[in-house]
């Protein structure tokens, strides 16, 4: 009988601890505690990287060279088209397609003295953040795989040491500074609304984006929240423009999934 009581009370006690620890506001608070600075103390990771840094530099240079080559390979057709813009055949099928869309209008055209919008063939604007993955240059993926393999070799030990510790302040600052420069904040946003877009990213070791997902996607279709779509698009553009992101050279496991919280309110209110 006593045993049962002890076990029961022990289980109850552990449940209380688990529940308390699971409360979201408590976990957030713990994240905000200053002692996080201790992450800065793990500078050893950076030191252990030093021997491997030249190797990575070489890889990065290789990729840069490859990218340069890609650009130069693409250049000739552009020049041809620039020289003879009229010589490019007009695909008749495509023209027909456009006409078809116009014919399918629900409202017949009315011609008035005033300028009127007679058709709105805006294509389905169902915002598909996942499609951004399809936009990523496949060549980058290939190069990313090479880096991935190398990176894994390099960071195997560190990953064990670092576990799930976040980015160091310097690492975070570098990434932030990069995205600050890429993000063109839409200036027409309302001041008194929630102007935060949360985007979850899956990254390659070289910082290129495998997948981006808007976490509050449902908000886009809510009435009166049109500005949110504009804001979300601007955030996605910023990520695309910054790609590859300036991620740390090591510890891929730590940051292969990142959440970026784009918040325009501070800038617009200021």
């Amino acid at each position: 009988m006593n045993k049962n009581i002890i076990i029961s009370s022990f289980l109850h006690f552990s449940m209380i601890i688990i529940t308390t620890m699971s409360l979201p506001f408590l976990t957030k608070k713990t994240n905000d505690f200053p002692p996080i600075i201790s992450v800065e103390l793990i500078q050893i990771s950076e030191k252990t990287n030093i021997p491997f840094a030249p190797k990575e530099k070489k890889i990065v240079e290789k990729i840069k060279e490859e990218q340069k080559k890609l650009v130069s390979e693409q250049a000739p057709p552009k020049q041809i088209k620039k020289e003879k813009p009229d010589a490019v055949p007009m695909p008749e099928e495509k023209i027909k397609k456009v006409e078809k869309i116009k014919d399918d209008k629900q409202n017949p055209e009315k011609i008035d003295n005033e300028v009127k919008q007679v058709s709105e063939f805006e294509k389905k604007e169902l915002f598909d953040p996942n499609s951004i993955a399809a936009l990523i240059d496949k060549s980058k993926k290939d190069t990313a795989e090479i880096i991935d393999n190398n990176d894994k070799k390099i960071t195997q030990d560190q990953d064990k040491n670092l576990g799930n510790v976040g980015l160091s302040l310097s690492e975070e600052d570098a990434l932030k500074a990069q995205i600050f420069g890429c993000w063109s904040i839409p200036l027409g946003l309302p001041y008194n609304e929630d102007l935060m877009v949360r985007i979850k990213l899956e990254l390659e070791p070289d910082g290129s984006v495998v997948k981006s997902e808007i976490l509050d996607h449902a908000r886009m279709n809510k009435p009166g929240q049109n500005f949110y779509k504009v804001l979300a698009e601007s955030a996605l553009r910023a990520i695309k423009l910054c790609e590859p992101l300036k991620v740390p050279a090591t510890g891929y496991e730590r940051w292969k999934e990142l959440q970026l919280n784009f918040d325009a309110s501070e800038m617009l209110e200021g």
Partner: protein
């Protein structure tokens, strides 16, 4: 006991597992750049037949290029966009309109691309345009318009508005008109006429002959009506003018001077000042039944009233505290609160169409400032300073202010010139609006098309 402990430790292990799964890193991005957004405005493509037809009708060599120039100028003037140099464009307009090669546009750092096509359609001008997100590689807007060829400039303005709205999240202000007082002649014998023009200064027309002095024209926010002050037979009275028909009428028969008129947000009432026996108070007249209601009753000068966009409040300036300051009250005249407390004199308050700010003119230590503050008086920001400037009027989206500025034209200060200027809320994008004559007292219309 050991058995239980094993079980408990197993349960605890599985319970704690999810904590690891949720531990991905969050980074707050709270800053961005406010540099103008790079956009490529490709000339609108046009087939040879249409080109010849429009050349005969409008005497314009290439209407496609001209419309794209209007769009480009509008976007540049907003200060928010940076239209890229067309010389750098790699793709022909007609091909770009069907399927842009995004790598090419990306190469010249364009983040958005505007393409279009013009056709001659049984005497009418048909314009279709598309807006492309270059980085995402997709079309984000596509519209078509049909109109008489003479309206081609408006087509350019409407395209600009649609692009502006799609990329900034708020309505544009390009397909609008500005009414103002055109001034000519020396200061002692100044001829003042009502004039109207597109917001970019084109299509200027005079609405009055200049026989009487006219002041403070204000647009009705819902129609093409204008209210203004005119000195007919040397008595200043508030008038109504229908721009479409040209008919004018006096607003009410007051036994004194009425001035500083402005429409209510629904366009059904006029709020104005009425002066008698050295006291000036604010009155509202219902335009349907012509009933006049007194709003303030104070032995001071209350003037320059302006409604909040929801019609619930009125801002005005008054010298009831001893100096001219800005006040806010309920639309029935109750709860009068002073909101300006800075140094100097404050006047001509105008409530923003967004409702978030009140623009004003401030006189301090011999300089005139155009500024904005929140309706509770907080967050005062002075946008521009000069020797003499006043009468701010909001663009319909509440982003730009237009006002007039007088400058001395010779060193003795005898000659002077009055011109219209605009400035955006950042205070950096200040622009002169070209007018045929000197100009003052501008008022911005609402969007002509929605």
């Amino acid at each position: 006991m050991k058995k239980y402990l094993k079980k408990i430790s197993l349960i605890l292990f599985f319970l704690f597992l999810p904590f690891k799964a949720f531990a991905f890193i969050e980074i707050d991005i709270t800053r961005g750049n406010l540099d103008p957004f790079p956009v490529a405005v490709s000339p609108l493509s046009i087939d040879d037949n249409s080109k010849i037809n429009f050349e005969n009708i409008l005497s314009i060599e290439n209407i496609g290029s001209e419309i794209s120039i209007i769009v480009e100028n509008n976007l540049r003037a907003s200060g928010i966009f940076n239209p890229l140099n067309k010389d750098a464009f790699l793709q022909a307009p007609e091909i770009a309109h069907l399927k842009p090669r995004f790598e090419d546009w990306n190469l010249i750092k364009a983040q958005a691309l505007i393409t279009g096509k013009i056709t001659y359609d049984e005497g009418k001008l048909r314009v279709e345009f598309r807006l492309w997100d270059v980085l995402a590689g997709k079309e984000i807007l596509a519209l078509a318009f049909t109109t008489f060829p003479n309206n081609w400039r408006r087509v350019g303005h409407i395209i600009s508005d649609k692009v502006y709205e799609r990329l900034t999240g708020e309505k544009g202000y390009f397909d609008t008109r500005i009414i103002y007082v055109a001034e000519e002649g020396p200061k002692t014998q100044r001829v003042k006429k009502l004039a109207i023009m597109d917001q970019d200064g084109f299509n200027n027309k005079f609405l009055t002959l200049g026989n009487e002095l006219v002041l403070t024209p204000r647009f009705n926010p819902t129609s093409q009506m204008v209210t203004y002050l005119s000195y007919f037979k040397n008595l200043p009275r508030v008038y109504l003018l229908d721009i479409a028909t040209g008919t004018q009428e006096v607003v009410g028969d007051f036994p004194g001077m009425t001035f500083a008129p402005r429409f209510s947000p629904d366009g059904k009432k006029i709020i104005m000042s009425f002066a008698k026996d050295g006291q000036s108070d604010i009155y509202i007249m219902d335009l349907e039944n012509r009933i006049v209601e007194r709003i303030t009753n104070h032995p001071s000068i209350d003037t320059s009233p302006s409604f909040s966009p929801d019609g619930k409040y009125i801002t005005f300036n008054s010298d009831r505290s001893g100096y001219q300051q800005i006040y806010v009250m309920d639309s029935d005249g109750n709860n009068v609160k002073r909101i300006s407390f800075g140094d100097g004199l404050y006047g001509t308050p105008v409530w923003s169409p967004r409702g978030d700010l009140i623009a004003f003119t401030k006189l301090h230590e011999g300089s005139f400032y155009i500024g904005v503050m929140r309706p509770d008086g907080s967050g005062e920001r002075l946008l521009t300073e000069n020797f003499y400037q006043e009468a701010p009027s909001w663009s319909p989206n509440g982003r730009i202010l237009i006002f007039y500025r007088e400058t001395k034209t010779d060193q003795e200060g005898d000659g002077f010139s009055a011109k219209l200027w605009s400035i955006d809320l950042t205070g950096y994008n200040e622009r002169l609006i070209k007018t045929e004559t000197d100009a003052s007292d501008p008022s911005w219309s609402s969007l002509l098309s929605n």
